[in-house]
Protein backbone atom coordinates (compact mmCIF):
# COMPACT_ATOMS: atom_id res chain seq x y z
CA UNK A 1 0.00 0.00 0.00
CA UNK A 2 1.06 3.61 -0.60
CA UNK A 3 2.87 5.37 2.19
CA UNK A 4 0.79 7.68 4.42
CA UNK A 5 0.89 9.41 7.78
CA UNK A 6 -1.76 8.97 10.41
CA UNK A 7 -3.34 11.49 12.74
CA UNK A 8 -5.97 11.07 15.41
CA UNK A 9 -7.41 14.49 16.25
CA UNK A 10 -9.46 14.82 19.44
CA UNK A 11 -11.65 17.73 18.38
CA UNK A 12 -13.58 18.85 15.35
CA UNK A 13 -11.44 21.98 15.12
CA UNK A 14 -8.23 19.99 15.08
CA UNK A 15 -9.61 17.66 12.43
CA UNK A 16 -10.73 20.56 10.28
CA UNK A 17 -7.30 22.16 10.66
CA UNK A 18 -5.57 18.96 9.52
CA UNK A 19 -7.96 18.49 6.64
CA UNK A 20 -7.54 22.02 5.38
CA UNK A 21 -3.78 21.88 5.85
CA UNK A 22 -3.43 18.73 3.73
CA UNK A 23 -6.33 19.40 1.37
CA UNK A 24 -6.70 16.77 -1.33
CA UNK A 25 -3.84 14.78 0.15
CA UNK A 26 -5.88 13.92 3.24
CA UNK A 27 -8.65 11.46 3.70
CA UNK A 28 -10.89 10.75 6.65
CA UNK A 29 -10.89 7.40 8.40
CA UNK A 30 -13.97 6.39 10.36
CA UNK A 31 -14.76 2.66 10.20
CA UNK A 32 -12.31 2.17 7.39
CA UNK A 33 -14.35 -0.54 5.69
CA UNK A 34 -14.39 1.37 2.41
CA UNK A 35 -11.43 3.71 2.62
CA UNK A 36 -8.83 1.07 3.50
CA UNK A 37 -9.96 -1.11 0.62
CA UNK A 38 -9.73 1.88 -1.71
CA UNK A 39 -6.28 2.93 -0.49
CA UNK A 40 -5.00 -0.62 -0.71
CA UNK A 41 -6.42 -1.12 -4.16
CA UNK A 42 -4.93 2.13 -5.40
CA UNK A 43 -8.37 3.53 -6.23
CA UNK A 44 -7.66 6.45 -3.97
CA UNK A 45 -4.48 8.27 -2.99
CA UNK A 46 -3.74 9.92 0.34
CA UNK A 47 -0.67 11.11 2.16
CA UNK A 48 -2.56 11.69 5.37
CA UNK A 49 -5.21 9.54 6.98
CA UNK A 50 -7.19 11.44 9.58
CA UNK A 51 -8.88 9.13 12.09
CA UNK A 52 -11.94 10.92 13.43
CA UNK A 53 -13.36 8.21 15.69
CA UNK A 54 -12.13 9.77 18.89
CA UNK A 55 -13.77 13.12 18.32
CA UNK A 56 -16.73 13.14 20.75
CA UNK A 57 -19.15 14.82 18.35
CA UNK A 58 -18.54 12.13 15.75
CA UNK A 59 -18.86 9.33 18.26
CA UNK A 60 -22.15 9.94 20.03
CA UNK A 61 -25.80 9.07 19.68
CA UNK A 62 -28.17 11.59 21.24
CA UNK A 63 -31.95 11.72 21.30
CA UNK A 64 -34.40 14.23 22.63
CA UNK A 65 -37.95 14.88 21.70
CA UNK A 66 -37.43 18.47 20.71
CA UNK A 67 -34.50 18.18 18.36
CA UNK A 68 -34.74 14.54 17.33
CA UNK A 69 -31.90 12.08 16.87
CA UNK A 70 -28.25 12.92 16.34
CA UNK A 71 -25.85 10.22 15.24
CA UNK A 72 -22.17 11.06 15.08
CA UNK A 73 -20.75 10.47 11.64
CA UNK A 74 -18.32 7.81 12.88
CA UNK A 75 -20.67 5.82 15.13
CA UNK A 76 -20.43 2.20 14.04
CA UNK A 77 -23.56 0.34 12.94
CA UNK A 78 -23.72 -1.98 15.93
CA UNK A 79 -24.08 0.91 18.34
CA UNK A 80 -26.98 2.18 16.30
CA UNK A 81 -28.87 -1.10 16.33
CA UNK A 82 -28.14 -1.66 19.98
CA UNK A 83 -29.39 1.81 20.95
CA UNK A 84 -32.74 1.63 22.78
CA UNK A 85 -34.03 4.98 21.47
CA UNK A 86 -33.19 4.16 17.89
CA UNK A 87 -34.74 0.71 18.24
CA UNK A 88 -37.96 2.21 19.50
CA UNK A 89 -38.23 5.26 17.26
CA UNK A 90 -36.32 4.59 14.06
CA UNK A 91 -36.80 0.98 12.98
CA UNK A 92 -35.91 2.06 9.45
CA UNK A 93 -32.41 2.92 10.66
CA UNK A 94 -32.17 -0.43 12.40
CA UNK A 95 -32.93 -2.03 9.02
CA UNK A 96 -29.86 -0.52 7.42
CA UNK A 97 -27.48 -0.59 10.36
CA UNK A 98 -28.03 -4.33 10.64
CA UNK A 99 -27.64 -5.14 6.96
CA UNK A 100 -24.54 -3.18 5.99
CA UNK A 101 -21.84 -5.81 5.58
CA UNK A 102 -21.79 -8.61 8.11
CA UNK A 103 -21.26 -8.64 11.86
CA UNK A 104 -17.59 -7.73 11.57
CA UNK A 105 -18.21 -4.85 9.18
CA UNK A 106 -20.98 -3.58 11.45
CA UNK A 107 -18.43 -3.40 14.21
CA UNK A 108 -16.71 -0.61 12.28
CA UNK A 109 -18.79 0.81 9.44
CA UNK A 110 -20.73 4.01 10.06
CA UNK A 111 -23.67 5.80 8.46
CA UNK A 112 -21.47 8.83 7.95
CA UNK A 113 -18.87 6.77 6.15
CA UNK A 114 -21.52 5.12 4.00
CA UNK A 115 -22.78 8.59 3.05
CA UNK A 116 -19.37 10.16 2.39
CA UNK A 117 -18.29 7.18 0.29
CA UNK A 118 -21.15 8.17 -2.00
CA UNK A 119 -21.56 4.82 -3.69
CA UNK A 120 -24.70 4.55 -5.82
CA UNK A 121 -25.46 1.37 -3.90
CA UNK A 122 -25.07 2.88 -0.41
CA UNK A 123 -27.67 1.17 1.75
CA UNK A 124 -27.86 3.85 4.43
CA UNK A 125 -28.59 6.78 2.17
CA UNK A 126 -32.09 6.05 0.83
CA UNK A 127 -33.52 5.51 4.30
CA UNK A 128 -31.81 8.67 5.56
CA UNK A 129 -33.40 10.56 2.67
CA UNK A 130 -36.75 9.02 3.51
CA UNK A 131 -36.31 10.05 7.14
CA UNK A 132 -35.51 13.63 6.10
CA UNK A 133 -32.06 13.49 7.64
CA UNK A 134 -29.63 16.35 7.37
CA UNK A 135 -25.87 16.54 7.62
CA UNK A 136 -23.95 18.78 9.96
CA UNK A 137 -20.74 19.78 8.26
CA UNK A 138 -17.84 21.61 9.93
CA UNK A 139 -15.29 23.63 8.02
CA UNK A 140 -12.78 26.38 8.52
CA UNK A 141 -15.57 28.91 8.08
CA UNK A 142 -17.85 27.33 10.66
CA UNK A 143 -20.70 24.92 10.19
CA UNK A 144 -23.33 24.33 7.58
CA UNK A 145 -26.21 21.93 7.16
CA UNK A 146 -27.05 19.98 4.02
CA UNK A 147 -30.01 17.70 3.36
CA UNK A 148 -28.90 14.10 2.87
CA UNK A 149 -30.45 13.97 -0.59
CA UNK A 150 -28.18 16.85 -1.63
CA UNK A 151 -24.99 15.43 -0.12
CA UNK A 152 -23.80 13.02 -2.81
CA UNK A 153 -23.07 14.52 -6.21
CA UNK A 154 -21.70 11.63 -8.28
CA UNK A 155 -20.34 8.14 -7.68
CA UNK A 156 -17.65 8.63 -5.01
CA UNK A 157 -18.20 12.40 -4.88
CA UNK A 158 -19.94 14.57 -2.30
CA UNK A 159 -20.43 18.21 -1.40
CA UNK A 160 -17.61 18.34 1.14
CA UNK A 161 -15.05 20.93 0.17
CA UNK A 162 -11.40 20.50 1.07
CA UNK A 163 -11.10 21.05 4.79
CA UNK A 164 -14.69 20.12 5.53
CA UNK A 165 -15.75 17.30 7.82
CA UNK A 166 -19.09 15.53 8.19
CA UNK A 167 -19.74 15.71 11.92
CA UNK A 168 -23.14 14.14 12.42
CA UNK A 169 -26.47 13.19 10.98
CA UNK A 170 -29.74 14.58 12.28
CA UNK A 171 -33.09 12.95 12.11
CA UNK A 172 -36.24 14.87 13.01
CA UNK A 173 -38.34 13.29 15.74
CA UNK A 174 -40.71 10.78 14.15
CA UNK A 175 -44.19 12.14 13.50
CA UNK A 176 -47.22 10.43 14.97
CA UNK A 177 -48.43 7.50 12.89
CA UNK A 178 -45.27 7.35 10.86
CA UNK A 179 -43.30 4.36 9.69
CA UNK A 180 -40.24 3.70 7.59
CA UNK A 181 -38.50 0.75 6.04
CA UNK A 182 -35.49 -0.02 3.91
CA UNK A 183 -35.56 -3.04 1.66
CA UNK A 184 -32.79 -4.03 -0.65
CA UNK A 185 -32.38 -6.89 -3.03
CA UNK A 186 -29.19 -8.97 -3.07
CA UNK A 187 -28.59 -12.39 -4.58
CA UNK A 188 -27.09 -13.76 -1.38
CA UNK A 189 -28.68 -13.12 1.99
CA UNK A 190 -25.70 -11.22 3.42
CA UNK A 191 -22.40 -9.73 2.32
CA UNK A 192 -23.58 -8.30 -0.95
CA UNK A 193 -24.05 -5.03 -2.80
CA UNK A 194 -27.64 -3.93 -3.41
CA UNK A 195 -28.83 -4.73 -6.92
CA UNK A 196 -31.51 -2.21 -6.03
CA UNK A 197 -32.90 -0.85 -2.78
CA UNK A 198 -35.82 1.22 -1.62
CA UNK A 199 -35.96 3.37 1.51
CA UNK A 200 -39.43 4.73 2.30
CA UNK A 201 -41.23 6.59 5.03
CA UNK A 202 -44.93 7.26 5.43
CA UNK A 203 -47.12 9.34 7.71
CA UNK A 204 -50.71 8.18 8.03
CA UNK A 205 -53.93 9.80 9.18
CA UNK A 206 -57.18 7.90 9.41
CA UNK A 207 -56.51 5.50 6.62
CA UNK A 208 -54.91 8.08 4.36
CA UNK A 209 -51.33 8.93 3.63
CA UNK A 210 -50.50 12.36 4.97
CA UNK A 211 -47.11 12.28 3.32
CA UNK A 212 -44.51 9.83 2.11
CA UNK A 213 -40.94 9.79 0.87
CA UNK A 214 -39.26 7.28 -1.40
CA UNK A 215 -35.58 6.97 -2.27
CA UNK A 216 -33.78 4.27 -4.26
CA UNK A 217 -30.35 2.66 -4.19
CA UNK A 218 -28.22 1.38 -7.09
CA UNK A 219 -30.35 2.74 -9.90
CA UNK A 220 -28.73 6.12 -10.54
CA UNK A 221 -25.28 7.74 -10.10
CA UNK A 222 -26.27 8.63 -6.54
CA UNK A 223 -29.04 7.51 -4.21
CA UNK A 224 -32.18 8.62 -5.99
CA UNK A 225 -34.80 10.66 -4.14
CA UNK A 226 -38.07 10.03 -5.98
CA UNK A 227 -40.08 12.94 -4.65
CA UNK A 228 -42.95 12.39 -7.05
CA UNK A 229 -43.53 8.85 -5.75
CA UNK A 230 -44.06 10.13 -2.22
CA UNK A 231 -46.09 13.08 -3.41
CA UNK A 232 -48.39 10.76 -5.31
CA UNK A 233 -49.31 9.11 -2.02
CA UNK A 234 -50.04 12.29 -0.06
CA UNK A 235 -53.76 12.58 0.59
CA UNK A 236 -54.47 9.18 -0.93
CA UNK A 237 -56.12 6.34 0.92
CA UNK A 238 -53.81 3.57 2.09
CA UNK A 239 -54.52 0.85 -0.46
CA UNK A 240 -52.82 -1.62 -2.71
CA UNK A 241 -53.71 0.64 -5.62
CA UNK A 242 -52.15 3.81 -4.24
CA UNK A 243 -49.03 1.94 -3.18
CA UNK A 244 -48.81 0.33 -6.60
CA UNK A 245 -49.00 3.74 -8.27
CA UNK A 246 -46.13 5.02 -6.14
CA UNK A 247 -44.13 1.90 -6.91
CA UNK A 248 -44.71 2.36 -10.62
CA UNK A 249 -43.52 5.96 -10.36
CA UNK A 250 -40.36 4.76 -8.61
CA UNK A 251 -39.77 2.28 -11.38
CA UNK A 252 -40.15 4.96 -14.04
CA UNK A 253 -37.80 7.29 -12.18
CA UNK A 254 -35.00 4.72 -11.91
CA UNK A 255 -32.10 5.20 -14.32
CA UNK A 256 -29.96 2.11 -13.73
CA UNK A 257 -27.14 0.63 -15.79
CA UNK A 258 -26.35 -2.90 -16.90
CA UNK A 259 -23.53 -4.46 -14.92
CA UNK A 260 -22.44 -7.66 -13.24
CA UNK A 261 -25.11 -7.21 -10.58
CA UNK A 262 -28.11 -6.73 -12.82
CA UNK A 263 -29.60 -5.47 -16.03
CA UNK A 264 -31.46 -2.22 -16.61
CA UNK A 265 -34.74 -4.05 -17.04
CA UNK A 266 -34.26 -6.16 -13.96
CA UNK A 267 -33.26 -3.24 -11.78
CA UNK A 268 -36.19 -1.09 -12.87
CA UNK A 269 -38.46 -4.03 -12.16
CA UNK A 270 -36.93 -4.43 -8.72
CA UNK A 271 -37.59 -0.75 -7.96
CA UNK A 272 -41.29 -1.39 -8.39
CA UNK A 273 -41.22 -4.58 -6.31
CA UNK A 274 -39.06 -3.17 -3.52
CA UNK A 275 -40.87 0.16 -3.28
CA UNK A 276 -44.19 -1.64 -3.08
CA UNK A 277 -43.00 -4.11 -0.48
CA UNK A 278 -41.20 -1.46 1.55
CA UNK A 279 -44.26 0.78 1.58
CA UNK A 280 -46.42 -2.07 2.88
CA UNK A 281 -43.99 -2.66 5.74
CA UNK A 282 -43.75 1.08 6.47
CA UNK A 283 -47.54 1.27 6.61
CA UNK A 284 -47.63 -1.65 9.03
CA UNK A 285 -45.07 0.06 11.22
CA UNK A 286 -46.99 3.33 11.10
CA UNK A 287 -50.14 1.57 12.17
CA UNK A 288 -48.34 -0.12 15.04
CA UNK A 289 -47.12 3.27 16.21
CA UNK A 290 -50.71 4.38 16.58
Amino acid sequence: MQWFEYARPGTVDEAVRLLSEHGEKACVLAGGTDILVQLRGGFRAAEWVIDVKEIPALDEIAWDEASGLTIGAAVPCYRIYEDEDVKKLYPGLIDVASLIGGTQIQGRASLGGNLCNAAPSADAVPIMIALEASCRIAGTNGERTVAVEDFCTAPGKNVLAAGELLVSLHFPAPKANSGAHYLRFIPRNEMDIAVAGAGVSVVLDNGNFTSARVALASVAPTSLFVKQAGDALAGQPVSDESIQRAADIAKQAAKPIDDMRGTVRYRKHLCEVLTRRALHVAVERARRNN
Partner: protein, 160 residues
Amino acid sequence: MPRRVHVQTTINGEEIDFLCEARQSLLEVLRDVLGLTGTKEGCNDGNCGACTVIFDGRIVTACLVLAVEAEGKQITTVEGIAVGRELHSIQQCFLEGAALQCGICTPGFIVAAKALLDQDNNPSEDKIRLWLANNLCRCTGYDKIVRSVQAAAERMQEVR
Protein backbone atom coordinates in the same frame (compact mmCIF):
# COMPACT_ATOMS: atom_id res chain seq x y z
CA MET B 1 13.84 4.72 7.10
CA PRO B 2 10.25 5.95 6.98
CA ARG B 3 8.74 7.10 10.22
CA ARG B 4 7.25 4.35 12.33
CA VAL B 5 4.61 4.71 14.95
CA HIS B 6 4.87 3.33 18.45
CA VAL B 7 1.68 1.59 19.55
CA GLN B 8 0.76 0.30 23.00
CA THR B 9 -2.05 -2.17 23.16
CA THR B 10 -3.33 -5.27 24.91
CA ILE B 11 -3.47 -8.55 23.04
CA ASN B 12 -4.88 -11.67 24.64
CA GLY B 13 -4.57 -10.02 28.02
CA GLU B 14 -0.95 -9.06 27.67
CA GLU B 15 0.27 -5.51 27.30
CA ILE B 16 2.28 -5.27 24.14
CA ASP B 17 3.97 -2.49 22.28
CA PHE B 18 5.18 -2.52 18.74
CA LEU B 19 6.44 -0.26 15.99
CA CYS B 20 4.57 -0.10 12.73
CA GLU B 21 4.07 1.96 9.64
CA ALA B 22 0.76 3.79 9.50
CA ARG B 23 -0.14 1.90 6.34
CA GLN B 24 0.18 -1.49 7.98
CA SER B 25 -3.02 -3.23 8.89
CA LEU B 26 -3.62 -4.83 12.24
CA LEU B 27 -3.62 -8.15 10.40
CA GLU B 28 -0.13 -7.55 9.02
CA VAL B 29 1.23 -6.55 12.38
CA LEU B 30 -0.36 -9.47 14.21
CA ARG B 31 1.08 -11.91 11.69
CA ASP B 32 4.35 -10.41 10.50
CA VAL B 33 5.48 -8.33 13.46
CA LEU B 34 4.05 -10.16 16.45
CA GLY B 35 4.10 -13.71 15.06
CA LEU B 36 0.44 -14.30 15.86
CA THR B 37 -0.17 -16.20 12.65
CA GLY B 38 -3.34 -17.87 13.87
CA THR B 39 -5.26 -14.94 12.42
CA LYS B 40 -5.49 -15.75 8.71
CA GLU B 41 -5.68 -13.70 5.54
CA GLY B 42 -8.16 -14.85 2.92
CA CYS B 43 -9.12 -11.73 1.00
CA ASN B 44 -7.66 -8.61 2.63
CA ASP B 45 -10.84 -6.66 1.98
CA GLY B 46 -13.18 -7.69 4.77
CA ASN B 47 -15.23 -10.22 2.87
CA CYS B 48 -14.05 -13.61 4.14
CA GLY B 49 -13.75 -13.17 7.91
CA ALA B 50 -10.62 -15.33 8.23
CA CYS B 51 -8.88 -12.49 10.07
CA THR B 52 -11.66 -11.94 12.61
CA VAL B 53 -10.44 -10.66 15.98
CA ILE B 54 -12.25 -9.18 18.95
CA PHE B 55 -11.46 -5.48 19.11
CA ASP B 56 -12.67 -3.73 22.26
CA GLY B 57 -15.46 -6.25 22.64
CA ARG B 58 -16.65 -6.34 19.03
CA ILE B 59 -15.56 -8.62 16.24
CA VAL B 60 -13.86 -6.90 13.30
CA THR B 61 -11.82 -8.04 10.35
CA ALA B 62 -8.22 -7.20 11.19
CA CYS B 63 -7.46 -6.47 7.54
CA LEU B 64 -9.73 -3.42 7.74
CA VAL B 65 -8.16 -1.99 10.88
CA LEU B 66 -4.93 -0.03 10.82
CA ALA B 67 -2.43 -1.27 13.35
CA VAL B 68 -2.10 2.26 14.70
CA GLU B 69 -5.77 2.11 15.66
CA ALA B 70 -4.89 -0.58 18.19
CA GLU B 71 -3.53 2.07 20.55
CA GLY B 72 -5.07 1.53 23.96
CA LYS B 73 -7.41 -1.22 22.75
CA GLN B 74 -8.15 -4.71 24.03
CA ILE B 75 -7.65 -7.31 21.31
CA THR B 76 -8.37 -11.02 21.39
CA THR B 77 -7.08 -13.32 18.67
CA VAL B 78 -7.59 -17.05 18.24
CA GLU B 79 -4.44 -17.59 20.28
CA GLY B 80 -6.26 -16.07 23.24
CA ILE B 81 -9.40 -18.19 23.17
CA ALA B 82 -8.15 -21.23 25.06
CA VAL B 83 -7.52 -20.66 28.74
CA GLY B 84 -4.08 -22.02 29.46
CA ARG B 85 -4.10 -25.68 28.49
CA GLU B 86 -7.89 -25.79 28.58
CA LEU B 87 -9.60 -25.52 25.21
CA HIS B 88 -12.63 -23.26 25.09
CA SER B 89 -15.96 -25.10 24.68
CA ILE B 90 -16.20 -23.76 21.15
CA GLN B 91 -12.83 -25.21 20.25
CA GLN B 92 -13.71 -28.52 21.85
CA CYS B 93 -17.07 -28.65 20.07
CA PHE B 94 -15.48 -27.78 16.72
CA LEU B 95 -13.16 -30.76 17.20
CA GLU B 96 -15.88 -33.14 18.30
CA GLY B 97 -18.31 -31.91 15.68
CA ALA B 98 -15.83 -32.13 12.79
CA ALA B 99 -16.55 -28.48 12.09
CA LEU B 100 -13.30 -27.99 10.25
CA GLN B 101 -11.81 -29.58 7.19
CA CYS B 102 -8.90 -27.56 5.85
CA GLY B 103 -9.01 -25.35 8.94
CA ILE B 104 -8.02 -22.03 7.35
CA CYS B 105 -11.32 -20.35 8.22
CA THR B 106 -11.50 -21.99 11.63
CA PRO B 107 -9.73 -19.29 13.69
CA GLY B 108 -12.09 -16.65 12.31
CA PHE B 109 -15.14 -18.78 13.03
CA ILE B 110 -13.98 -19.60 16.54
CA VAL B 111 -13.33 -15.96 17.40
CA ALA B 112 -16.64 -14.86 15.88
CA ALA B 113 -18.56 -17.64 17.60
CA LYS B 114 -17.01 -16.82 20.95
CA ALA B 115 -18.11 -13.20 20.63
CA LEU B 116 -21.62 -14.40 19.82
CA LEU B 117 -21.86 -16.80 22.74
CA ASP B 118 -20.45 -14.19 25.08
CA GLN B 119 -23.47 -12.03 24.39
CA ASP B 120 -26.13 -14.71 23.77
CA ASN B 121 -25.73 -18.13 25.30
CA ASN B 122 -28.69 -19.62 23.49
CA PRO B 123 -28.75 -18.30 19.94
CA SER B 124 -31.17 -19.70 17.40
CA GLU B 125 -29.87 -21.39 14.25
CA ASP B 126 -30.91 -18.31 12.28
CA LYS B 127 -29.04 -15.99 14.60
CA ILE B 128 -25.91 -18.14 14.37
CA ARG B 129 -26.11 -18.15 10.58
CA LEU B 130 -26.64 -14.39 10.44
CA TRP B 131 -23.84 -13.66 12.91
CA LEU B 132 -21.39 -15.87 11.01
CA ALA B 133 -22.37 -14.70 7.52
CA ASN B 134 -19.22 -12.56 7.30
CA ASN B 135 -17.11 -15.72 7.73
CA LEU B 136 -16.74 -17.77 4.59
CA CYS B 137 -16.04 -21.48 4.71
CA ARG B 138 -15.60 -23.37 1.47
CA CYS B 139 -15.14 -26.89 2.86
CA THR B 140 -17.98 -27.69 5.22
CA GLY B 141 -21.12 -26.12 3.83
CA TYR B 142 -21.46 -24.63 7.35
CA ASP B 143 -23.68 -27.46 8.66
CA LYS B 144 -21.20 -28.82 11.16
CA ILE B 145 -20.00 -25.33 12.09
CA VAL B 146 -23.51 -24.23 13.01
CA ARG B 147 -24.15 -27.46 14.91
CA SER B 148 -20.88 -27.09 16.78
CA VAL B 149 -21.74 -23.55 17.84
CA GLN B 150 -25.10 -24.86 19.07
CA ALA B 151 -23.32 -27.64 20.94
CA ALA B 152 -20.91 -25.15 22.50
CA ALA B 153 -23.82 -22.97 23.62
CA GLU B 154 -25.39 -25.96 25.36
CA ARG B 155 -22.13 -26.92 26.97
CA MET B 156 -21.51 -23.39 28.20
CA GLN B 157 -24.98 -23.31 29.73
CA GLU B 158 -24.29 -26.58 31.55
CA VAL B 159 -21.08 -25.20 32.97
CA ARG B 160 -22.82 -22.13 34.38
